[in-house]
Structure formats: C-alpha cells, structure tokens
C-alpha cells in the first residue's frame, strides 16, 4: 500500500491546490500593491498547476489501464473484462473522474491563455490568470474534500462501467462538452479582470472574442455529439428529449450565442458594452449551473449518471458567490462610467444583432424556467411535478421563427445610421417571396398535403439559406454558421414532421411494413461479448421487393451489473435513416420490435458540426490576422 497510486494522486492534487492558491493570491496582491514581481508570478504558478493536474489526470488513466482496483473510483467504474478502449472512457464515466476532467480542461485553457496573452497588458494578464486560479482553487477544494478520485478502498469488487457509456461516442462527447463549459471561465476571467481594472471598453470585446468563439464551438460539438449519442444508444429514436441534463448544456450555448453576436457590435461599434458584459458573466454562471444540475442529483433525469445530493450545496453556494460578486462589481463599475449616447437606425446591423441577442437570451430564459420550475416547486413544498417537452416546443416555436426571420435579414443590413436602403429592401422582399413559393412547391410536391406549420418553417429556413449567399464572400464564417443553423432546423422540422414509427410484435418469418419499406424478421441468435452476453436479431429490409440491407439489432446483458441494454441497428442515409430496436422477448419466440423511419435526421448533426466548424474557421482566421 505504501506506493499506492493514492499517495501520488493525493500529493498531486494538493500540490495543484497550493499552486492555484498562489496563482490567485499573488497577482491580486501584486496589483493592489503595485508589485511587478508578484504579478509576474501568476504565469509560472498557472503552468505548474497545469503540469500537476495533467499528471494527476494521467495517473487516473494509468490506474484504469492497469486495473488498479485498490482505488475506489476505478473499482466502481471498471472491470477486468472491460475492453481497453472503454477503460479510457471510464476515466470520465462517473462523478469524481469527470470532475477531474473538468479541472484538467480548465488548466488546459489556462495554459492556452498563458501562451496567447504575450502582448497583453501585464495587469490584465495577471488578473485573468488570478481569477482562473480562484475558480480552479474552488473546484480543487471541492474535488479533494468531497470527491477524491484517488480514494483508496480495500478488497473491492469491480463493478464495471455503466453499459450506456460503453459507446465510442462517449469517448469524445464529455471532453468536448466540458471544454465548452470550461472555456467560458476564460471569458469570465478576462471580463472580470477588466471590471477589476475598471477599464472595460471595445478593447475588451477584441480580446475576449476568440475565447468566446472557441468555447462556444467546443460546446456546439459537445451538444451535437451528445444528441447523436442519445439517438443511437438510448434506443428511443429521438435526438433531443428536453431532459434537464440536455437543457443544462443548451443554456450556456444560447447565452454564449447571444454573447457572440453582441461582442461583434461592441468590437466594431463600441455599443451595448454593458449588456455584453452581463452576458459574459451569465454565460459562465450557466456553465456552473449546468455542472450543478448534472452533478448534484437534484433532478430526476433520464441520464444523470453520477450524483450525490450533498455535493449540490457546495456548487450552489459557489454559483451564488461567483455570480453575485461579479454582478455586484459590474454594477459598481457601471455606476461610475457613462457610455456616450449613440444613434443608430432600427434597421441597422447593430439593431439586428441586439435583437438576435435578446431573442437568444429569451430562449435561454424560457428553457431555464422550464428546467428549474420543478425544482422550485419541490423546494417550496408546492408539489412534485415535471415540465413536459410540449412546453419547450411551444415556447421556443415563436422565438425560433423570429430568429430565422432576422437571420435572413442579416446579410442585407448595414452598420450605423444608413441601415435599410430601398434597393436592399426590395431584394430582401424578393428573396422572402421566392422562399415562400419554393417552400409551398416543395411541400406540395413531396407530401401532396397542405401543412401550414411545415411551410412556414420551411420558407423561413429557405429564406436564411437564400439570403446568406450575398454575404458568403465578405463574411464567410458568419454565412457558414447561419447555413449550419438552418440545416439543423431543417433536420429537426423534417424529421419530426415526417418520421414514421411502429411498435409491433413479430415472430420469426413475419414481416411488417413501414412506409415504402418492408422489414422481415429472420431470426434471433445468441452472442457472446467480452463483458456481456446477448441475442442478435436479424431483419431484412426490402423496398419494392428489392433487398436494401440487413439490420442486426441486439439485446445485451452486461454480466457484472446485470444490466440489460438495447443495441439498436441503423441504416444511415443522407435523406433518411432506418432504425430497428429489439424490445423484449414475448411468448412463442416472438419479440416486441420498434421500427423507425427518420427522414433528414442526419442533417441535425451535420448542421451542428457545420456551426462548430465555422467557429473554428473564424478562430483560424483570427489567429492568422494576429501574426
């Protein structure tokens, strides 16, 4: 036991805790006492902390690879029979490890800040690092006191990784999502550093913009992958369930998008600075809230994997402390400074971007309300209830329509007082009319039905897609992001309007029709996996008596946790997916089977990745302009 990983791990974490403490304290002391040496110490402290945390993270990976079951966390989330690949993902499979990942990513971002801030003002750089140190200190304290990933255990029985997480998607999804969450802490640190200095201006927007862009792009990738994972692992054919855990990731995304739109105006025109600062603070708070919602166990969710109510209190306190003090500082500063009054046209680009940010913020607030409403009701003793998906769909629908309308308008707009010219108005009108006609034609041609909601949504999507081409050369990344968003919405609209699904009882040899497709249930055979056993069904899919493919959905029992899992099989396509999931065995060799026909579902994720890609492209261009 003397050379157990426990001692190394604990030493590394406490070492990092010490570094974080110094990284926070020294620059603040240096700033207020005008001590240059203390300011300069922020960077080495931050780099040392990152090194220690990276080693702690590596140590946990080694513990998983080497099956060191003397560590409680490893014993709870791994097993000798767990395939090597999934041992790596098990590192962030539960609470302690994912928290270490959170802190590890925070340190990666801090390191990035250290290297990208060479030409910044020294005060600003040191204060930003100090605030990152403060965040890191809080979370490390939390990790070491309540959820030590290296806590030892004697004679533990390995319990295997949650089978739902034994999926390749889980290898990338949490790191990306967390990179997004955590990235906003850099934005927050820089913003707060400006507020401490009392010198927030359009320069703030210039400095903070690439960080917002990077964090938001990672978050976009994370959410997209999460949605894809839910689609092919949970076995219900859906890509978004309005589940609190999913909402938790959407909240900072919406706020971040609002911030991103606004930062452009602040950088270019110096307007709306106050609103942008508030958004920067709130976006980070929402990231912490997301962590709180997922990790605290306050929610009844279909996939809150690791939770413990006692941990919630700390996160909530931290959230209140951080948001409260940041907003207090903002109010204190804004009382002293008064922005110069400025005029702009109601049809100008800044008005449009302001509008867009307000819409996104409103969307965020409605999702937040729907997510927290059950918690508030329960905490105040007014009953236990849940808010269903129809609420979110209903409330977001008008917001989405307005957002699309403004998005299509964006390429025609101009900065400042000139705003809306007659020529641009006429051309925009023509495009709007054209997209309406196209939407009607397409809907009637493909469905032979008059479906006014689909036509309305489709015409607005087409309006965004058509109008954006004028901006393609001048604002390529904006155009790409808007196209990506339109594609996401197109995927959502078409897949939810024209999906077909059936739940049937099938005996081997029987067939069932779904739209133009015929599914023939051939047989069911037993199978053995490394850490599971199960059965594999075989379905031949025919269209007009021609065989298209054979789908082999599975039903697995993971032996260690004796947990049953549905492994669906999907025939993917650009325009539609065919999706088969085995239900349960019934009498007479029959199975209950779920079949889906999902048109355009891939577009949801393609569009999402497109949005993220445009973000990274913008970042690349930003980096090139700097050098």
């Amino acid at each position: 036991m003397l050379f157990s990983l426990y001692y190394f791990g604990t030493a590394l974490i406490y070492g990092a805790l010490g570094c974080a403490f110094l990284q926070c304290l020294l620059p603040f002391y240096g700033y207020f006492s005008k001590n240059k040496y203390c300011l300069a110490l922020a960077r080495p402290c931050a780099l040392l902390q990152s090194l220690l945390i990276a080693n702690a993270f590596l140590l946990l990976i080694i513990a998983f690879i080497s099956n060191d079951f003397s560590i409680a966390y490893v014993a709870k989330n791994s097993h000798p029979s767990l395939p090597f690949f999934y041992r790596l993902t098990a590192v962030w499979g539960a609470h302690e490890g994912s928290f270490l990942l959170w802190i590890f990513l925070l340190n990666l971002w801090t390191t990035a800040l250290c290297f990208c801030s060479k030409d910044w003002d020294q005060d600003l750089r040191a204060l930003s690092l100090a605030l990152l140190g403060l965040i890191s200190f809080c979370f490390l304290l939390f990790l070491s006191q309540t959820s030590d990933p290296f806590a030892p255990i004697a004679n533990a029985i390995p319990q295997d990784l949650n089978p739902l997480l034994q999926d390749p998607g889980f290898f990338v999804h949490p790191p990306m999502l967390y990179a997004g969450y955590v990235g906003f802490s850099v934005v927050f640190a820089i913003t707060l550093a400006y507020l401490v200095k009392g010198a927030a201006s359009s320069h703030w927007a210039h400095i903070v913009r690439p960080w917002v862009l990077a964090a938001w792009s990672f978050l976009t990738v994370g959410i997209t992958l999460g949605s894809w994972w839910a689609y092919h692992v949970l076995g219900w054919g859906g890509f978004w369930f309005w589940d609190p855990v999913e909402n938790a990731s959407l909240l900072p995304w919406l706020a971040g998008a609002a911030l991103l739109h606004l930062v452009c105006v602040v950088e270019k025109q110096g307007r709306f600075l106050g609103w942008a600062l508030i958004l920067a603070i709130l976006t980070f708070s929402l990231s912490i809230l997301g962590t709180f919602l997922v990790r605290s166990g306050v929610l009844i969710s279909v996939h809150s994997f690791a939770n413990d109510p006692s941990r919630g209190a700390f996160l909530l306190l931290l959230l209140a402390f951080i948001t409260g003090s940041a907003l207090a500082l903002y109010i204190f500063r804004s009382l002293k400074t008064r922005a110069a009054p400025s005029l702009f046209s109601w049809t100008s680009r800044e008005a449009l971007l302001l509008m867009q940010s307000i819409l996104l913020f409103t969307a965020m607030a409605t999702v937040l309300l729907g997510t927290l409403y059950p918690l508030i009701m329960e905490a105040t003793g007014l009953g236990t209830l849940s808010v269903g998906p129809p609420y979110f769909n209903q409330v977001l629908f008008p917001l989405l329509l307005l957002t699309l309308l403004f998005m299509g308008w964006a390429p025609f707009s101009q900065w400042g007082l000139s705003g809306w010219t007659q020529a641009s108005g006429r051309s925009a009108g023509r495009q709007l009319l054209l997209s309406l006609v196209l939407a009607v034609a397409l809907t009637l041609f493909f469905t032979q039905q008059w479906n006014s909601t689909v036509i309305l949504k489709l015409s607005l999507i087409l309006w965004v897609l058509l109008s954006v081409k004028t901006a393609f050369l001048k604002q390529t990344t904006m155009a790409l992001a808007h196209i990506g968003f339109a594609v996401v919405i197109l995927g959502i609209v078409l897949s939810s309007a024209f999906s077909k699904e059936r739940e049937v009882r099938l005996q081997p040899g029987e067939t069932v029709a779904l739209g133009p497709y015929v599914f023939q249930f051939n047989d069911v055979q037993g199978e053995e996996g490394p850490n599971y056993r199960g059965v594999r069904g075989s379905f031949t899919v025919l269209r007009h008596h021609k065989k298209i493919t054979t789908l082999t959905p599975e039903k697995r029992i993971y032996s260690v946790r004796s947990m049953v899992m549905t492994k669906v099989d999907i025939y993917p396509g650009v325009f539609h997916d065919l999706y088969v999931a085995l239900g349960e065995p019934l009498s007479d060799n029959a199975w209950s089977v779920r079949l889906y026909y999902k048109p355009f579902i891939r577009w949801v994720w393609l569009g999402g990745l497109g949005i993220a890609l445009s973000g990274f492209l913008a970042l690349l261009r930003f980096a090139r302009r700097q050098t």
């Binding site: 949650n162 279909v302 409403y373 849940s386 808010v387 269903g388 129809p390 239900g583 019934l586 009498s587």
Partner: protein, 147 residues
Amino acid sequence: MLKLNKLQTRRLYYLLALMLGLALAAGLILYSLKQNINLFFTPSQALQANLPAGHRFRLGGQVKPGSVIREKNRLQVHFILTDLKRELPVTYSGILPDLFREGNGAIAEGSWGTASQSKKTFIATEILAKHDENYMPRAMYEELRKK
C-alpha cells in the same frame, strides 16, 4: 407638458418596447407552462388527489414483484405500481424500457382510465425507468427510510 429630446424619446420607445415584449413573453410562457406540467404522485397521493379521467399526471412507484402480466398476441402489459402503502393497477401498450423490472422503481405517465370507477386503473402512455437500477421516487425513498 414634458419636453423630450430625440435621445430621450428613443429611450422611452426602447423601454416601452421592452416592457411590451416582456409582458408578451411572460404571458406566453405562463400559458404554456400551465398547459404542460405533469404532477407527480405516488399511488397513495394519486388516490387521494382524485383527479378526473383524462387528466395527465405521472405516477411513480415500485413495480410489484410478480404483478407483470402480458397479453397474448398484443403489446399490452398490465402491472401494479406500489408505494408499499397503496397499490394501483397500470395498463400500458408498447415496449417497456430496459430498466423496467419487477421490484424496481418506475414512473408511468398517463391518466385514469374511464372504465369502472370502483376499481381504478391507470392508463399509461409512457413508461420511464431511470437509467440507474437503484432509482426510486423520493417520497417512496423517505417512506422506506422511516421503516
């Protein structure tokens, strides 16, 4: 009469637009929230609450061991949800989630059936079983802890 310069008028419009927008948004939100909340009950609470047939709510409890009965040739399932005090028969047509097991916790969403008032049946349109085998509704957990 109060005289406003151009900037002040503009500010006033801002404020009015903002208030109007907020009021509209709040109205819409409250309306759809009211339409789309599902109350959550344990079987004893559900029997006490006495909601009309067709009113949707969520019923949470333990699937009584030995109570799951499948109909032949259909996807119809009958089982009993219990909070260890009262029991309620539930009928569901469809595929049950993987974690649905006798003795485990489950949440059924649906409403009272209209059939016979003497023996109440809950008609579920959706069964949620949490992705964690140790899950049970909080009210039930506290009930168990008391014992």
